[in-house]
C-alpha cells in the first residue's frame, strides 16, 4: 500500500473542513467508545480482565520466535502449508503465483488490514487477477478507490447517494435506490455470485494459536466464513505478531477484542480453522496456505522499545478514544493502520523519513494507553520515536533535528543548569516577547510561533517573574 503519511497535515486540514467527515466523527467514535464501555461492564472484574489481556500479549512479544515455531509445527501437522514472507513483495508474489497455478481468474477477500499493508489487491491486478473485497464497507471503499476510514467501519463516512452511484456505475445495482437494506442486498447478491465455483479465497487472521495450529477470524457479516469455506484453496495472511500461546489465551483475547472493537461480547461469526478439509468432511478448502508476514517486524522485535507495538491486536479502541483521530478521521494517517495504532506501527515498519509528523501528531493525553486491551504504552513509544528521529537513528531512518530547533533546546537547557544564566535567559525572553505586546496581551511573535497565534493570544509576560516577586518579599520580610 502506498504511504501518504508525509501529507498528514494537508489531509488533516482537508478532513477538518469536510462536512461529512466531521458529521461522522461526531457519531462513530463516541458510539463505539460507549458500546465498549457498556460491554466491559459484563466482566466480573473489568480491571483484572484488562490486565490479564496485557499479560497474554506480554508473553507473546517475549516468546515470539518460539511461539511461531510451535505454530508452524502444529499447523503443518494439521495439513496446512506455511509460507514465511520476508516482505510485501514476497507475500504478494507467493499469493499471485498460487492463484495462477490454481487457474483462478479472480479471488475473494475478507476484510484484513494486513493485505492492505501488502497492497495485495494492486499486486494481484498487475498479474491480471481481480480481487473482490467481500466485507460491505471494504467493498464500497474498494469500488471508490478509497483507503479505510476506520478499522471497523471502512466506509462509514461515505454518503448513501455516493454508494448508490458507484453501485450503478459498477453494475452492482440495476434500479437506483437509497434504501440501505436494498443496497446491502444488491452487494450481497453481487458478491454471492463470486463465491460460487470459487478457486481461491483470501483472509487475514485475528489470532493464530501456537499450541493447536489454529487460525481464528472474527467478523459480523459472514463473508469471511464464506471466504474460508467456499474456495478450493484458502490463503490466510497473518502478520507474525498475531500468534498466541494457547486456545485458552485466544479465548480470553477474543473476549476483550470483540468488546473493544464493537462493544459485542462476541462477533457474530467466530471461525476456528485447524488445517484444510479432512477425508470425510463435507466442506472446507482442499488446501490451506498460511502466509506469515514479517515485513520489518523482526527488526521491530529486536528493539525492545518498538517490540512493544507488536502487542497490538487491531481492535481499534484507541482510534475511538483519540482526540486527534476524533477530529481528523482515518485518512491523514496515510497507511493501513490509522489512529494511535498506526502511530506506533507505521514508524517502525516504514521508518521515520515519512512519519515525522505522524509521531508528533499527538497531545500525549494517554487515553489510548488507558484503553488498550493489549497493554501498549503509546505515549512512551511516540516519545521514543521522536527521540530516534532527532538522534538520526539509521535503522529507523531518523531525519535529525532542524538546526534552529536543536540550538533552541540546547541553549535553553544550558541556561537551565545555572542560576545566573537562567535569570539572564528569563529577562531576555521577557524583553523579546514583550516587544510585541499590545496592552496586557501578545497577538503574535514570529513566523515560528504562528501556529499558536492562529487562534490564541498569549498574556504579556509580567514585569516581575515569580522568582523576582519571591525574592522581593523575602527581602521585605528580612528587613522587618
Amino acid at each position: 500500500m502506498k504511504l501518504t503519511t508525509r501529507q498528514f497535515k494537508q489531509t488533516a486540514r482537508a478532513e477538518l473542513n469536510d462536512a461529512r467527515t466531521q458529521k461522522f466523527l461526531q457519531i462513530l467514535p463516541q458510539r463505539l467508545s460507549a458500546l465498549r464501555q457498556a460491554a466491559y461492564q459484563s466482566f466480573t472484574d473489568a480491571d483484572a480482565t484488562h490486565r490479564f489481556g496485557h499479560a497474554i500479549r506480554e508473553e507473546v512479544i517475549q516468546r515470539l520466535p518460539e511461539l511461531l515455531e510451535d505454530f508452524e509445527k502444529n499447523a503443518l501437522a494439521n495439513g496446512a502449508q506455511i509460507f514465511w514472507a520476508r516482505d510485501s513483495a514476497a507475500a504478494n508474489h507467493y499469493i499471485a503465483s498460487l492463484a495462477k497455478a490454481k487457474g483462478a481468474r479472480y479471488v475473494t477477500k475478507g476484510k484484513s488490514m494486513v493485505t492492505e499493508e501488502l497492497g495485495l489487491n494492486e499486486a494481484l491486478a498487475l498479474e491480471g487477477i481481480e480481487a473482490w473485497e467481500t466485507d460491505l464497507g471494504e467493498f464500497i471503499a474498494q469500488l471508490l478507490g478509497k483507503p479505510p476510514f476506520h478499522i471497523v467501519g471502512p466506509a462509514i463516512n461515505i454518503a448513501v447517494e455516493q454508494i448508490r452511484d458507484i453501485f450503478l456505475q459498477k453494475g452492482v445495482l440495476r434500479e437506483p435506490t437509497l434504501d440501505p437494506v436494498a443496497l446491502g442486498k444488491a452487494a450481497r447478491q453481487f458478491l454471492r455470485s463470486k463465491f460460487r465455483d470459487l478457486q481461491m479465497g483470501i483472509t487475514g487472521v485475528n489470532m493464530a494459536v501456537a499450541a493447536t495450529g489454529t487460525v481464528i477470524n472474527v467478523e459480523n457479516e459472514g463473508n469471511i466464513r464464506l471466504n474460508k469455506s467456499s474456495p478450493r484453496t484458502l490463503v490466510c495472511v497473518m502478520s507474525l505478531e498475531k500468534v498466541v500461546p494457547t486456545l485458552t489465551d485466544a479465548l480470553h483475547m477474543l473476549r476483550v477484542l470483540c468488546r473493544s472493537a464493537t462493544g459485542q461480547k462476541a462477533g457474530a461469526y467466530l471461525s476456528f480453522d485447524s488445517g484444510p478439509r479432512r477425508p470425510g468432511e463435507i466442506d472446507g478448502p482442499e488446501e490451506l496456505h498460511i502466509v506469515i508476514l514479517d515485513n520489518g517486524r523482526s527488526a521491530m522485535y529486536a528493539d525492545p522499545h518498538t517490540r512493544e507495538a507488536l502487542r497490538c491486536i487491531r481492535c481499534g479502541a484507541c482510534l475511538n478514544t483519540c482526540p486527534v483521530y476524533g477530529q481528523v478521521g482515518g485518512y491523514p494517517y496515510g497507511w493501513a493502520y490509522s489512529g494511535p495504532m498506526g502511530q506506533v506501527l507505521t514508524p517502525a515498519l516504514q521508518g521515520l523519513t515519512d512519519t515525522g509528523d505522524l509521531v508528533r501528531a499527538c497531545t500525549l493525553c494517554h487515553r489510548c494507553k488507558i484503553i488498550c486491551p493489549a497493554g501498549i504504552d503509546h505515549p512512551s513509544l511516540l516519545l521514543y520515536y521522536r527521540h530516534q528521529d532527532v538522534q538520526k537513528n539509521p535503522r529507523l531512518g531518523g531525519r535529525g533535528a532542524a538546526l534552529g530547533e536543536w540550538l533552541g533546546h540546547t541553549l535553553f537547557s544550558l541556561a537551565g543548569t545555572r542560576y545566573g544564566y537562567w535569570r539572564l535567559f528569563t529577562k531576555l525572553a521577557r524583553l523579546a516577547a514583550n516587544r510585541q505586546r499590545r496592552g496586557d496581551w501578545i497577538h503574535g511573535i514570529s513566523a515560528y510561533t504562528q501556529g499558536w497565534f492562529q487562534s490564541r493570544d498569549l498574556p504579556a509576560l509580567p514585569e516581575k517573574s515569580f522568582h523576582e516577586r519571591w525574592e522581593e518579599s523575602k527581602k521585605a520580610e528580612d528587613k522587618r
Binding site: 486540514r13 477538518l16 508528533r360 493525553c365 516519545l383 533546546h409 510561533t449 490564541r456 515569580f466 519571591w470
Partner: protein, 254 residues
C-alpha cells in the same frame, strides 16, 4: 483545618517555568495555600525547568541536562509540590525512562519520585484535607487535564476541593476529560487540529453555563485562556490554585 504548629512541615515549591515567567499568580496562590494549610513554603531559587518540553520534542540529551539539575536542586526535600500535573508527571514518570542508560541518575530519580506531589494530590491525599474553608458563589466547570487525570490518575481530588468551597457548585461539563488540544509544541505544530480541540472545549464550557472554568495545569490554562481572550474575552478560566486562594480570601473578608 490548619495543621497545628507542632506538625508544621516544610513544603518545597516546584514552580514550573511557565508559571515563573508567564503566570506567576499561580505560584503565589500555591504558596498562599501552603501557608494557609499551616505548612512553610520553601522556594529554591536555583530551580529552572524540569525538561518536559525538550523531552516531549525528542531532545533527550538536553532534557537530561535539565533533569539532572532538577534532581540536584530538589533531592533533599521531603515534600515537593507543584501546581502542574504535566511537570509532576515528567519528574515522577519520565525521569526514570530518561535515565534508562544511567543507573546512578535513575536511582536518584526513582528516590525523588514518591516525594513529588501535584497540588490537589498533596492537599487531599497527603494532608487528608478537603475543605479549605473558602467561599465563592459560582458555578464551576472543571477541565480534567490529561497529564493530571490520565498520567497521574488524579481526578477526584481537585473536584473534592472545589465542591467543598461554600457557594461553589460543579456543573456537568461535556467532554471534561477530553484533551483541550494543548500538547505543548503540538499546539504550534498542528494548529488546525489544536484549534478544533480547544474550540470544542470552549464551546462545551459555554454550553455548561458555568461562571468559571478551573483546571490543574498551566499548559491547558495558557491554551484555553489564550483562546478565550481571542474569541470570548468575557469568559474566565483559571488555575485551581488561584480559584482556591481567591475563595479563601473571599471568605476571610466576610
Amino acid at each position: 483545618m490548619k495543621l497545628n504548629h507542632s506538625q508544621k512541615k516544610k513544603v518545597s515549591l516546584f514552580i514550573p517555568c511557565t508559571v515563573d515567567l508567564v503566570l506567576p499568580a499561580i505560584g503565589e496562590s500555591t504558596a498562599a495555600l501552603v501557608r494557609h494549610l499551616g505548612c512553610t513554603p520553601v522556594y529554591h531559587r536555583e530551580q529552572t525547568c524540569c525538561g518536559l518540553m525538550a523531552f516531549n520534542s525528542g531532545f533527550r540529551q538536553q532534557a537530561r541536562r535539565l533533569a539532572r539539575h532538577f534532581i540536584e536542586v530538589f533531592e533533599n526535600d521531603e515534600v515537593i509540590v507543584s501546581p502542574s500535573g504535566s511537570c509532576v508527571a515528567m519528574v515522577k514518570q519520565r525521569y526514570p525512562e530518561l535515565f534508562e542508560d544511567q543507573p546512578d541518575w535513575q536511582r536518584r530519580a526513582l528516590a525523588l519520585a514518591p516525594r513529588v506531589f501535584e497540588l490537589s494530590q498533596f492537599i487531599v491525599d497527603h494532608l487528608g484535607i478537603r475543605d479549605l474553608g473558602g467561599a465563592c458563589n459560582a458555578k464551576v466547570a472543571f477541565h480534567e487535564s490529561c497529564s493530571t487525570l490520565n498520567a497521574l490518575g488524579i481526578g477526584p481530588q481537585p473536584k473534592a476541593l472545589i465542591s467543598a468551597v461554600r457557594g461553589a457548585s460543579l456543573v456537568y461539563f461535556k467532554g471534561a476529560d477530553v484533551c483541550c488540544g494543548f500538547g505543548g509544541t503540538f499546539s504550534n505544530a498542528f494548529p488546525d487540529i489544536s484549534t478544533a480541540l480547544v474550540t470544542q472545549k470552549v464551546n462545551a464550557y459555554i454550553e455548561s453555563q458555568a461562571d468559571l472554568l478551573v483546571m490543574c495545569d498551566p499548559g491547558c490554562l495558557l491554551n484555553i485562556q489564550g483562546f478565550l481572550h481571542r474569541r470570548h474575552p468575557e469568559r474566565r478560566a483559571l488555575h485551581l490554585a488561584e480559584f482556591l486562594a481567591e475563595s479563601i480570601r473571599e471568605e476571610s473578608k466576610t
